[in-house]
Symmetry: C2
Subunit: 307 residues, 2 copies
């Protein structure tokens, strides 16, 4: 089945990044394989973060080695620095590397300082070095986080975000994730930014990455779709979320829930190309693995499209 | 402050209807008064259902008598039959009646049979009798539930829903709530129905009433707004929900959460006319009264609009 949209399933990385309990590598592998079985063509699998800084992904190579590779599926790994790219290259050389590497900048200086502990200027230099080091072995995915607002700086100028996306193009990156990291986007700001990117940086495939911090993620996905976006990130159970959000309460309100996004697309007649029964099964597997009820509404209520 | 949208706060009726624990009348009164203090001009306060059938609202008259009436606020009560309208008239004569009565039909025969235990034809006769009995003492609010789909019948013909709305007009009702009772609506079906109602039944004020069964409630509110709708129903904490939904799991995923809807409108520059600090306080009061964490994202994360 052809799909009209490309959904990257982010449970295993963005979803798990801030989980407090350690998830065993074999559990991650089981989930990633089940995600692939459901038909996703892009899967965010892990991060080559420094194991001491992000212990959740100390098993990055183990996970990439352990998954059962499916033809036509791209596995993505996050890279924060040159050392991470070197690890990605080593795994690639060993025959089990990721197909995609994601390289992140933040739209604001204050968030860059707090989250990445550097300046935007230095981070752009870091990203350019990573892109050069990665060469053409991987599909590079740029990420601009805080693209719709920042808890530290407030509003974010859309012209600046468009310039960041163009900056990615200048270092050879053709796919850029536009991240609403803390749920400040609204349908109108999403629509205007995605329309502007399509107009001003047409060589880029923009990817919508929305968090549901304030319940707007699905509405924002609709707005991005209406603005022409066809690539989306989501996480099963709506897990993930920045620690700055989690501190507000017990809810791990993170990414838009894959189950809910898929249900909405299918209900609207937009083919996702997924096996919906298998998707339901991996949704249950994620809840079982994390040991709690997650945030997807559809996981509770079932699919809602009608014959 | 003028408001660009009119939000009817439905916590005390649609929200509480299916709660298993009994909520004391004084707690309901405290919440309704706090809702009025936050600036809502329309509040769904109770239902004149038969006390034996819906014990949660056996205190209907007590609640209406106990609330501290605010000028400019309309209190709404649901009426299922002529006996209920007689009780509403008696309370009105005693000086503490509701300003609005809502009269419900379901868009589908199967749901009418299961939920109202009658036929659509008989229910329309019942509704016409109630409207005649109520006379001009109240603003009558028609309700068409299952307007976007039905778990028993599947798809619902929009022409039939428009005919139901026109039917309400023929019996003197000028405000009609269009209900997505079980979360089958999508942005495109919502947009097309609200546009069609505005075109075909222009004398009616259509009210968007969306449940978040499948996470689409906020996206559907955006679509209704874009189609010209300015009247919305919501419930604090996103409580409510039809028992047929609740059976699927532990989540009481009901109405669109007031906190999240208000946050979205304010973030989009659409004035709600509400006192947001007081809204946050009544949101906490609702959680305290029900003794559990409710469904609003904004209640956890705080308002997201930026200066």
């Amino acid at each position: 089945m052809n799909s009209a949209v490309v959904i990257c399933e982010c449970f295993a990385r963005d979803g798990l990044q801030h989980e407090t309990a350690a998830i065993a590598a074999h559990d991650k592998i089981e989930i990633i394989d089940a995600i692939a079985d459901a038909g996703f063509s892009r899967i965010e699998a892990t991060s080559y973060s420094h194991p001491a800084q992000v212990p959740a992904f100390a098993d990055a190579s183990q996970v990439l080695k352990g998954i059962d590779r499916r033809e036509g599926v791209s596995y993505k790994a996050t890279c924060p620095n040159g050392k991470a790219v070197e690890r990605a290259l080593a795994d690639f050389a060993a025959g089990y590397g990721a197909e995609e590497l994601s390289l992140l900048v933040s739209a604001t200086e204050a968030h860059t300082e707090r989250n990445l502990r550097t300046t935007r200027e230095k981070q752009w230099r870091n990203v350019a070095e990573m892109a050069a080091l990665a060469g053409r072995r991987f599909r590079l995915i740029g990420v601009v986080s805080m693209a719709f607002g920042c808890p530290f700086e407030g509003k974010v100028d859309q012209g600046s975000v468009v310039a960041d996306i163009a900056h990615f193009v200048s270092i050879g990156v053709r796919h850029v994730t536009v991240g609403d990291t803390t749920g400040h986007g609204t349908p109108s700001s999403v629509r205007s930014l995605f329309e502007r990117v399509a107009r001003d940086v047409p060589e880029v495939t923009a990817i919508a990455h929305f968090h549901d911090t304030r319940g707007t993620a699905l509405a924002n996905c609709v707005a991005a779709y209406e603005a022409g976006c066809r690539w989306f990130d989501s996480a099963l159970g709506g897990v993930g979320g920045h620690p700055a959000q989690i501190q507000y309460g017990e809810g791990y309100t993170g990414n838009v829930a894959t189950e809910d996004l898929v249900n909405l697309f299918e209900a609207e007649g937009v083919a996702t190309g997924l096996d919906l029964d298998r998707l339901s099964k991996v949704s249950l597997l994620c809840e079982k693995t994390l040991g709690r009820t997650l945030q997807s509404r559809v996981a509770r209520a079932g699919y809602g499209f009608l014959g």
